[in-house]
């Protein structure tokens, strides 16, 4: 008997000696009396993945690392991952410990209401997928399949990114334009500014119109130096002006460029 107890304590000791990841950071917040709208307004997203868990729920503990994996996969793609629990302050240390062990880094909220946007939580885990307008587009009950969730996120991302934002940013926020004289040719080139990409690849190519006696439309081909165009018969011109029509895209969003430009020839 004594040996048995000694062995149990030894096993416990050996298990407790596993090294910890000290650099782990997770934000654990209290919902307090805030509404979901208030909490969600702190994030900018096209898709929000909201997951309900509890410290006592073992399928949840299998699901949280999947959430984390998808979180890192969709980082900076306007997809936000959040986990909520109805458990209170008293469970905060356990929640923190659990997240540490599971390697969760995205924000976690406790003290959450047991009703999510009029939907009472009765099963754990449950995962809601919201679009940018905070409408529930999908609800996954029980342990989700990572592939299914990924597919849902991607479909909703495409839907939202199709509604391209028309907001006008400050001039030349997306690109820079340059015109260089080379004998009787003028080399006009457009370079995207980080983090934007101009047309090409999966986006439609850009269109340039140069003002002159005869307005001419050019479609520019992409090269690694940006977009460039060789123009002839411009020996007496000091300045080029025209119109640019293009998409400037980040990895998650596109903006339309539809504006006039003027550039002096160097």
């Amino acid at each position: 008997m004594k040996h048995g107890i000694a062995v149990i304590f030894f096993v416990l000791f050996v298990f407790s000696c596993k090294s910890k990841n000290e650099s782990h950071i997770v934000t654990i917040n209290s919902m307090a009396d805030r509404t979901f709208e208030a909490v969600l307004s702190e994030y900018q997203y096209d898709v929000a993945v909201i997951n309900y868990f509890a410290t006592y729920c073992s399928p949840c503990k299998k699901e949280l690392p999947l959430m984390e994996k998808l979180n890192s996969e969709f980082k900076d793609k306007r997809v936000v991952f959040l986990s909520f629990t109805t458990e209170t302050e008293a469970m905060e240390p356990s929640i923190r410990g659990m997240m540490k062990l599971l390697g969760v880094t995205y924000p976690v909220y406790y003290n959450a209401p047991s009703v999510f946007f009029n939907d009472p939580i009765s099963v754990l885990p449950v995962t809601y997928i919201l679009n940018g307008n905070n409408e529930i587009v999908e609800r996954l009950v029980g342990l989700f399949q990572a592939d299914t969730l990924k597919e849902i996120i991607n479909t909703n991302r495409k839907n939202t990114s199709a509604e391209v934002s028309y907001e006008k940013k400050a001039d030349n926020m997306y690109y820079s334009v340059q015109a260089v004289r080379d004998n009787n040719l003028v080399l006009l080139s457009f370079h995207a500014k980080k983090p934007y990409k101009l047309g090409g690849e999966e986006y439609p190519p850009m269109e340039i119109t140069i003002n002159g006696k005869e307005s001419q439309k050019f479609q520019l081909e992409y090269s690694k130096d940006g977009y460039s165009l060789r123009l002839q018969n411009l020996s007496d011109v000091k300045e080029l002006s025209g119109h640019i029509k293009a998409f400037a895209c980040t990895e998650s969003n596109c903006f339309i460029i539809d504006e006039n430009f003027t550039v002096s020839i160097q």
Partner: protein, 288 residues
């Protein structure tokens, strides 16, 4: 005595499961929900599932497993243990020292249900001793060892509740599954396993009274340890006993009462006391 006991069992079954407000709420919303009053922090003396829609308190065996889960987690994280949870052990000690398995016979709603099912056949086969030791194995493995020593956070679970407990299946699983369609869609092989166990126990109950108490109940196993020493206990006066054997015939736990009246198997239902023609068996303060 039997009638009084059944009345007490009924009163406790209602008392411990009297959050009817929650039941109405569940029925209206069609969503599973556990009663959430202050009473939930209190252990009740019986295998009365925490998740039963109308349950006011917490099942001490469930609470113990969750506490051990927490201890395991805290050790893994090298954090300070939560000693407040030790009150659960205190609860077992206090109730055990008071009456041993008295609560099995008089309070536990699942015990009462088992007696009710057994009434169909009224058969009571004596089970092999080895099978009756099963409750200690279940207590050790599913209540203590697995919840405490499985060193993987996703495996930290109240394993007895999760895989075995027929009280949970019957009092919480079935009603909640009937009401909540989300819950039905998330049912897994574990649900099937638990239903099989429940069915097995129900069939066994037709042959042997309190089959679950005899062979599987971890709560009874803990209280049983106190049977020999509890303050309120069964006393036996050898001098006036006529060895008529009426007590053993009546015993739902198939005990040879005059030899095993303080056995860990005895649920203190006191059937033997009322059957005894000479009052050689009495229940009261412990006498040597």
């Amino acid at each position: 005595m039997k009638k009084i006991r059944h009345a007490v069992q009924l009163i406790f079954a209602i008392l411990l499961n009297s959050d009817f407000f929650n039941v109405i709420k569940i029925l209206i919303s069609g969503k599973a929900r556990v009663s959430a009053t202050v009473m939930k922090n209190i252990c009740v003396p019986g295998l009365n599932c925490y998740s039963c829609p109308s349950a006011l308190g917490a099942c001490p065996i469930g609470a113990l497993q969750f506490y051990l889960n927490d201890v395991s987690l805290k050790i893994q994280l090298k954090e300070k243990l939560n000693f407040a949870g030790l009150y659960i052990l205190g609860f077992f000690g206090f109730t055990g020292i008071l009456g041993g398995r008295l609560f099995c016979g008089w309070v536990c709603p699942f015990g009462a249900l088992q007696e009710l099912i057994n009434r169909i056949t009224k058969k009571n086969v004596t089970l092999p001793n080895l099978l009756e030791k099963g409750r200690f194995v279940i207590l050790a493995v599913f209540v203590f060892i697995l919840p405490l020593f499985l060193y993987n956070i996703s495996l930290l679970s109240p394993w007895f509740c999760k895989l075995i407990c027929p009280s949970g299946t019957l009092l919480a699983g079935i009603p909640l599954l009937l009401i909540d369609k989300d819950l039905r869609s998330s049912a897994s092989y574990i649900t099937l396993l638990k239903f099989t166990i429940l069915l097995f126990i129900i069939i066994s109950l037709l042959f042997s009274n309190r089959f679950f108490c005899k062979t599987m109940c971890p709560l009874g196993a803990i209280w049983g340890i106190f049977n020999r020493i509890s303050i309120f206990n069964i006393n036996y006066d050898k001098n006036i006993c006529i060895s008529c054997g009426k007590c053993s015939n009546k015993c739902p736990m198939n005990l040879d009462v005059i030899k095993e009246y303080r056995s860990s198997k005895c649920i203190r239902c006191l059937e033997c006391n009322s059957a005894c023609p000479t009052s050689s068996l009495t229940f009261g303060k412990y006498k040597n």
